[in-house]
Symmetry: D2
């Protein structure tokens, strides 16, 4: 290969810039040129493209978001859109494409490869950590720390006013952020989409803990398991305790990436690129059990990942 | 005086613990004992009281919230409640009382003094900064930095997705947090309760800036000027731009206090205590123009404070 | 078992309090009492002891350092000291002991067990991450993030003044912190104890990069590989570039633990305790490949761990 | 005026980018062009120049350092250098110059004006806060918070190991950072250049506090008052206590500016520019007593500023 392309696609995640840095510098190191397409698949279709050199990715490792930006792209979901994207890639003599993004973006890469026989490689970026084939997706560790930091602050005021606080965190389909942040902040309860829970039981626990002298409490809710405000109202009605809800929202997506996410992003970005340049295709780079691996995209996209039940058990014991 | 009391009352603010430290150590330094009442006025009425020594206030200067906790107290609003509070203070041989809190708490102190002739001193603590007689209330600087930090993160994702973000910050009656955070984060617009604004104009500006190539924007709303979600919906309808709302909520109240708030709290807490022990009463300590001052509570409570218009003008020029 | 003891020993590490929380609540959950000895082995010998209940470990998960404190203890290195420690444990009817600490502390635990047949369990806490049998020791992730944050700040001034900065980080025997932080901050070079490096080569690279237009650079040195000041002087002499040294020092030990360290500490603390209460002894809890494991202390203490060479390779490519 | 120039000069300070943003947008708002010279006076002499538009200063308000960079410049200290600088300014049709920097940079501006009759305006940027005519220089608040954050972390390990820590902070000629950070972190002692102190007395206090049960202590030293290591050695010798030194160094210069510094920088940058464009010259913009002011550079440069003694008194009482 003489030239590859790279995009960041789907929801942005802290560490995407570090991954981009790794893709570009790994390719240049092997004498291969890199083109960056802006705004994900949309920029491929519309040929929003810039050549990337060593300097283009200097000074970005500490930046949240993605300098290539991202976007949703309906056209790419249609065969015509993908054909057009392929034409642009061909016109630009792009022989392989690294896609940094979540489930949807990787699906797009896989379909494009199947239809047009272009070599693609995936790098998992998702604060929700909902991508199979890797223990950690880029951005997850930072998002958990951002939520932890916010809840530590809320805990100050919960303590000062003897209140229950319900914190809604991101996680539409799973409870990865919710469970880790609940453990890390010493929460008294957690509600997540993929495991059963009983709000009634949580209310019982809150009342019992209060009777034993615990004066403030935190309940964490993954957005996929319920609305923070509704859970809060339920708790007020069923316990008589003073409660407030906080919805952390989009701040969980941003911020300077943690060291873990930066190192992870560099490793996965470099691995994907080196594999691509060595002739592999249709894979995603991942970290499984502290070891770098690659899986076929078809495998990755057919699996779902759920929170480790051990952590829920642990939370139950810790929340006494 | 041989013994004074101290309470933290009303909404908690970062730096209240530093103020408490200053009250306790200043009094002990002059050979005067200090009793801490828990949960504000409620703890005075119900005699929730602990003697405070040097060690009690060691290692707390960096903690958010208040180790004495706070609470609302309806009984104290009635003459009977205040009579009971006074009885408790008398029983505990408390000759003077330092009240760390906001407008409501200082009003309580003033009324108690008028009815029962007890020496009181106020220390202004309020993240909203809505207390007259001081340029800065304890907690404001920290709250602005917390909001700034959150918006810096949101800016990452706003940039990556070419979006407008509407951020609702605290401020029921004024725009102190909103304006400073809007300036500090380079926001494109701000809505505050005490000055006129036009959402229509903001929409026009957003559209115009977009047409000139600015791809993402931040609009800050003080809660007293509108709901973040509603402002967001309005913008979507009137500009066609993609927009999201984030409500920062209670995290603005917590967190380790900034250096500014710690130093301010120490200075005001020490001043209030020294004045009280020197025979003054019915005053609030404040910082005006970088100078420590005291004002009568009656003066402080009869004034209102509004955001400096110069900052709004500046914001208009900066948001080009 | 009806009663166990717990100590934190050796250099303090962020997350030790979270581990302590897990030990105490896991034991109480199984109906077993817990005694906390202060100041590590010293407090065992001198019987500095407090019973720990659920409340004792409430509100500490976010605190750096260790509420049980730590200390070095020469007496414990002698058989007489250990005999005395055992006597205190026996007098207090302690049937098992959880030791949270580094290599030295775990060695102490092993020897005590061998000499006096008491059940011990180890939990690895060390910002240096130099304990075999676990991919991550408690405190490492936080220390790396603290150093990363400091270097991100130094990078601002390096950039503004076109300077080389040499940053000395912790790591007497290995380069775990140095390598991760060098990757995470986009450093141009790293010097660590366990792999060969050439300062002369680093100087060549710095000069070459400068000639290609890179105007500022960061070189990270693990303390075991050289003094920051000396490396800095060498670079100045051999490149003619303007350089400064920064020694990060003890701030790397403190601070509120990261989410990763908190969750890790909870998991390892709970595992060690559950194993102890189930009749196992002489083990250390660890995380290997994202899986909880236990190893015999004898195994753990006979191994050494070195930085993954893949990361060094990666750094070379990234530092172009 | 139709065109002005702007430089950042001397030691970099967080908030300089915000000041730059204000200068550029204030000028453009009045229809005046702006040229940015890189590397301070050096870039004026060597004509390293770029036109700055609204976009040039977008997205920089949160960045530490200065995008225009800075440098020392010996040539500018000679009349020939300044003549050359003036020629470049004339060639570029620069009618006025805004200089963002410290004492030395402002002196340069004043001399250039006197020799060549060009309109200059100063904006005070200095983490040391050693510029008269303003209560706060840009960067000071951020530097104090950076030092505070580091010392809060050191405090964790000081507490865990019952140690004394000596922290050397910046401040060659004054103790602004040292005193504020000592107050904010509850330090037991502070050594600064402009007021007398007795290390022997500090040692006595440390011993006395230890005898009363205070187990760990922090002593802050401004670099102008002594070397951290030497103070540490003195304390060890004269008290027998375990002590360690930490030199915070250049990290105090960097980092994302605090909200206070951002707002201050915007206000001062805008004021200096508006005054310049209205025909004033030879002034520095400042904040005195929460009010925006301007002073003649001649006045500013003839004064020195020292720490407020009230804060030292307060520290003595707080450090019981």
């Amino acid at each position: 290969m003489k030239r590859i392309g790279v995009i960041t696609s789907g929801g942005d995640a802290p560490g995407m810039n570090a991954a981009l840095r790794a893709v570009v510098r790994s390719a240049l190191h092997r004498g291969v040129e890199v083109l960056g397409f802006h705004h994900g698949w949309r920029g491929v279709i519309s040929e929003e493209v810039t050549p990337l050199n060593t300097k283009s990715v200097g000074g970005i490792i500490n930046l949240g978001g993605t300098i290539l930006r991202s976007a949703r792209c309906r056209e790419f979901r249609e065969p015509e859109g993908r054909a057009q994207a392929m034409e642009v890639l061909r016109d630009n003599r792009v022989e392989g494409l690294v896609v940094i993004g979540g489930d949807g973006s990787l699906t797009g890469a896989k379909v494009l490869m199947e239809e047009h026989d272009i070599a693609v490689m995936g790098v998992p970026g998702s604060i929700d950590n909902d991508i199979a084939g890797t223990d950690y997706a880029i951005g997850f560790d930072t998002a958990v720390n951002t939520a932890r930091d916010a809840i530590d602050k809320v805990r100050d005021t919960a303590y000062s006013h003897d209140r229950v606080f319900v914190i809604e965190v991101m996680g539409r389909n799973n409870g990865f952020i919710a469970v880790d942040v609940a453990l890390a902040c010493g929460a008294e309860g957690v509600l997540i989409p993929e495991f059963p829970f009983s709000i009634a039981e949580i209310c019982e626990n809150l009342k019992e803990q209060r009777s034993k002298g615990k004066s403030s409490s935190i309940v964490v809710v993954a957005e996929g398991a319920g609305k923070g405000n509704e859970v809060c109202d339920f708790i007020v009605k069923n316990t008589g305790l003073e409660a407030r809800a906080v919805v952390l929202g989009h701040m969980q997506r941003g911020g300077s990436p943690s060291a873990f996410d930066r190192v992870l992003a560099l490793r996965l970005g470099a691995l994907a690129t080196n594999r691509l340049l060595s002739g592999y295709r249709g894979e995603m780079a991942g970290l499984v059990g502290n070891r770098l691996v690659t899986h076929p995209l078809s495998y990755v996209l057919s699996q779902t990942k759920t929170v480790d039940a051990e952590r829920l058990l642990l939370l139950g014991v810790m929340a006494q």
